[in-house]
């Protein structure tokens, strides 16, 4: 077991943990905004962690070709890291403009 495969395991397991947290958040949180909050944050971080893990796994028989493939994977990670929060922002703003009410506890006055 090399240091690269240990690093891969740590990254992929961390990515799986954040995916799990995002899924639990989508299922359990009460309204649109908080669900989107869970989905947007957890999914973008988890996708970047898992892609970084795959890029490190791909480096194992080291050559120029595998380095090139890993660099492309890291470019995908950077793309996801920019686009996923932007998409979440756009969906949230559309919901706010169309007047989706945020959830609140029963019996509490809106401030």
């Amino acid at each position: 077991m090399t240091i690269l495969s240990i690093l891969t395991m740590i990254l992929v397991l961390a990515g799986l943990f954040f995916f799990l947290a995002g899924t639990v958040g989508i299922l359990r949180l009460p309204d649109f905004y908080s669900r989107l909050h869970a989905a947007g944050k957890c999914d973008s971080l988890a996708a970047v962690l898992m892609i970084a893990g795959l890029a490190i796994y791909n480096l194992d028989p080291f050559s120029f070709g595998s380095l090139l493939v890993s660099a492309k994977l890291m470019l995908i990670a950077g793309f996801v890291f920019v686009t996923s929060p932007t998409a979440t922002h756009a969906i949230t703003e559309a919901a706010l403009v169309l007047g989706v009410k945020p959830w609140q506890r029963k019996g509490r006055k809106r401030p």
Binding site: F79, V82, T83, T86, H89, A90, E93, L96, V97, L98, G99
Partner: protein, 155 residues
């Protein structure tokens, strides 16, 4: 429906900035997909769709006028017609120089590269034509559908 700009913060800085950052990379990736079409996943159609989607993204995040600043209507029409001309022109050149339609190895008499090299290079030429046609027709479809055929104001 309520007034659409009641809660809106006006021009959306986040979306516009990230679109402005991403569009050059999307277009570069579209060209990469077209050029690598004959020995990796991709090809003319896929690369053309990515190129067209980059301009549609500009039109969505800014407005129709901005996307027409980057790709004017006349240039779009020119490229959309140039694509089929490249495709049919390469095919007809092959037929003129003694092969079948789109039999690229016949072009070896024009520039002697060898028949195998010409088969690879001819696919590349045809893919460029397909990519240009798909890009401009996709963009034109979006412009027409979003502005009701007027091509001036839309989403």
């Amino acid at each position: 429906m309520r007034d659409i700009h009641e809660h809106s913060a006006g021009e959306d800085l986040v979306i516009k900035t990230s679109v402005r950052l991403l569009v050059p990379f999307i277009q570069l990736f579209g060209l990469y997909v077209i050029v690598h079409g004959h020995y990796s996943p991709g090809g003319g159609f896929q690369g053309g769709v990515i190129l067209g989607a980059s301009f549609i993204l500009l039109a969505l995040a800014y407005d129709l006028k901005t996307s027409q600043d980057y790709m004017p209507i006349w240039a779009n029409a020119l490229l959309g017609n140039l694509g089929p001309v490249i495709y049919i022109g390469v095919g007809a050149l092959c037929a003129i120089f003694g092969g079948l339609f789109l039999d690229y190895s016949a072009l070896d008499v024009l520039i002697p590269l060898g028949p195998v090299e010409w088969r690879s290079f001819g696919i590349f030429l045809v893919e460029v034509g397909v990519g240009l046609a798909v890009m401009s027709i996709m963009l034109l479809l979006y412009w027409n559908l979003s502005s009701g055929g007027a091509l001036d104001e839309g989403l």
